[in-house]
Symmetry: C2
Subunit: 112 residues, 2 copies
DNA sequence: TCCATCTGCTACCCGATGGTTGCACGTGTC
DNA sequence: GACACGTGCAACCATCGGGTAGCAGATGGA
């Protein structure tokens, strides 16, 4: 696990709200499965229209979880793990922060 | 970091959508700061009404990120790191999964 | 006991968002 | 060149979710 500088807060925010939607998570799953896929291929597998998939891919792209490139007349998308790892580390850091704060308060309550 | 069994998918989903809202993140921040706080105290600090805070605390509670107990006529809430750690681990696992799938596909593309 | 205060509903408003349909525009194929 | 297929864009709809206001019910303090 390479040690990148901490993710900016709004990048984390975008990842979180992108990941909050179940359909989006299913899209990511399907994408990770195939390595690469087009919006129409994903629409064939999931119970939503192609246009809905396209919208979701746009959001996932802006969050940096996915990247697309044009190949002939179709545009293929693939998954990118980097931002997800960043967000996981952010979350771990926050959890650790909570832990230490709670411990400090507990010490304080017990009279130093 | 203790090794709990993997968090169920819908618990992760609840944490993610709870964390997706900026106001909710600010509430968690403020809560972690003070160790404990009431809804009215938080409403005094944040730019939303007490009722909004109450709703958010309800969502955070259902996600398991927060717990409240009644003390006299006021109900105090505190933050709970456990679910956050679970979700971070889930996220790390998914990212690792993506990585290995991408690697496998790359090997395949390069002809075994 | 009376009052102030804090909580816990309920009803309501409005903007964001997930979803759909329809159509026009490239691009590969015969 | 004609056709098929995939994409991209725009309009539109319905629901969900964040936010507010108002009121009734506890609970501690004077």
């Amino acid at each position: 696990m390479t040690q990148r500088p901490d993710a900016p807060a709004d990048a984390v925010a975008e990842v979180l709200s992108a990941l909050a939607d179940p359909t989006r998570r299913r899209i990511l799953d399907a994408l990770a499965d195939r390595g690469e896929a087009t919006a129409t291929a994903l629409a064939a597998e999931l119970p939503v229209s192609r246009q809905a998939i396209v919208k979701h891919l746009g959001i996932l792209d802006r969050a940096g979880l996915v990247a697309g490139h044009r190949a002939g007349r179709e545009s293929r998308y693939r998954v990118i793990p980097e931002r997800l790892e960043d967000t996981a580390r952010w979350m771990d850091r926050v959890a650790a922060d909570w832990d230490s704060r709670l411990a400090a308060i507990k010490r304080l309550a017990e009279g130093s």
